[in-house]
Amino acid sequence: MSRLHDMGGRFGDGSIPVPRDNDNEITNSEPTFKYEWHAKAWAITLAAGALGEWNLDISRHYRECLPPKDYINFSYYEKWLAALTNLLIDKKLVSLDELKEYVSAAKNGTLTKFSDKDIKLDHRTWLAKDVQKTLGWGGPSIRDTNVNSVFDIGDKVITQNYSPNKDVSGGHTRLPKYAMGRVGVIHSYHNNHVFPDKNAHGFGENPLPLYTVEFKSSELWGELAESQNDSILLDLWEPYLKLFPH
């Protein structure tokens, strides 16, 4: 079983919303953020993440854990904001009473931002002067470990045929449903990377070997494959894979 975010290969979705300009030509230069609230939802999510109370895998999993009805109905940045709200409460950065107070103020039009001199910045708060530095560092997921890779380039492997997260039922994983139980070939190796299936649940980083695995289109889609020649490549951690018996 999986969750709604795991939509690769799903039927029922219509045309891609390809943007066009006034001459009906496909455009490559839409605004970065369509509405100001998109930009704000995105930026407050990044800024709150910088407080260090959760990692990238946890925040992804919170978005995935939105109830299916909300996941379907919410637009992209509404999902971000809803997951952020749940994180803020669960990690006790904000209390439910505080949230309710601000929500009713917003509804009544009485929302007030304090003047800067009345705001006491938390010691963890991400400051504007540090933004470029922190963005430049990023958050690499690669780790130096003594874990050796089991598979070689060219090995035939089969993926787990059910959710590989053994610790948490319905837990986070990065093996999509459409590639479960399928045979592919190790295309390349990327050293050890933080394992999301553990890291998303606070069980530590557990860095493990990461590979790119190539699947023939026909292996994934059978007779529906558009071309026998095409392939799909996924980045998969070692626990998702087993050597395929010859």
Partner: protein
């Protein structure tokens, strides 16, 4: 690990999700959370402005276009780019968040590469900026792995059946950039003129560089 065996993830969250208290108007919803975090000193308004300005005005597909154009004119650079993209891209000072581990995949007359993220919206920020709406859409995420040729047709791209399509689903923290083929008739153009031909979509695989008229 046995004590963790029977954890069901949804038990972590009360039935009544905190987010269900938010107002229905998304603009109001953001305003409420933003003001709460600002007043608590957990975020700083100047940081928000700096972040938004950075990705609206400084980091975007123009960066990636410079990488591509350099690879078109400098075969040694192209070699480095295909061999260790993260370092080669850092040579042009593009690095960091959501581009920590880069891989560049080359289009050839035989192979066409397309990038997608079916599970969320992974995208190489330092070279392409924030992903466009269509890249984050359910339609693109669900269909591209199953019917890439139909998807590409909707972008006006009709590929010869003999060309192999490789779809890269960004399921980990590796971020992909497509190196498109240099258009014909551009032999006399310099690097900065060439960069003008490199469209964002050509670096995702849903388009080609501009043809010269």
């Amino acid at each position: 690990m046995s004590e963790k065996k029977n954890i069901t993830d949804d038990h972590h969250h009360p039935h009544d999700h905190a987010h269900s208290h938010l107002p229905s108007d998304p603009e109001l919803r953001v305003k409420a959370v933003e003001t709460l975090l600002l007043n608590k000193g957990l975020i700083d308004s100047q940081t928000l402005d700096e972040l938004i300005d950075t990705y609206e005005n400084r980091i975007g597909p123009k960066n990636g276009a410079k990488v591509v154009a350099k690879a078109w004119v400098d075969s040694e650079y192209k070699k480095r780019l295909l061999n260790d993209a993260t370092s080669a891209i850092r040579e042009l000072s593009y690095q960091g968040r959501q581009g920590e581990n880069m891989v560049v995949v080359e289009n050839t007359p035989e192979t066409h590469n397309v990038i997608v993220c079916t599970l969320c919206s992974c995208y190489p920020w330092p070279v392409l900026g924030i992903p466009p709406t269509w890249y984050k859409s359910d339609e693109y995420r669900s269909r591209t792995v199953r019917e890439p040729r139909k998807v590409l047709l909707e972008f006006g791209l009709s590929l010869d059946p003999k060309v192999q399509i490789k779809v890269w689903d960004s399921t980990a923290e590796i971020r992909y950039l497509v190196l498109p083929m240099r258009p014909q008739g551009t032999e006399n153009m310099d690097q900065s003129e060439l960069a003008e031909l490199v469209t964002r979509n050509s670096m995702i695989g849903t388009g080609l560089p501009k043809e010269i008229k």
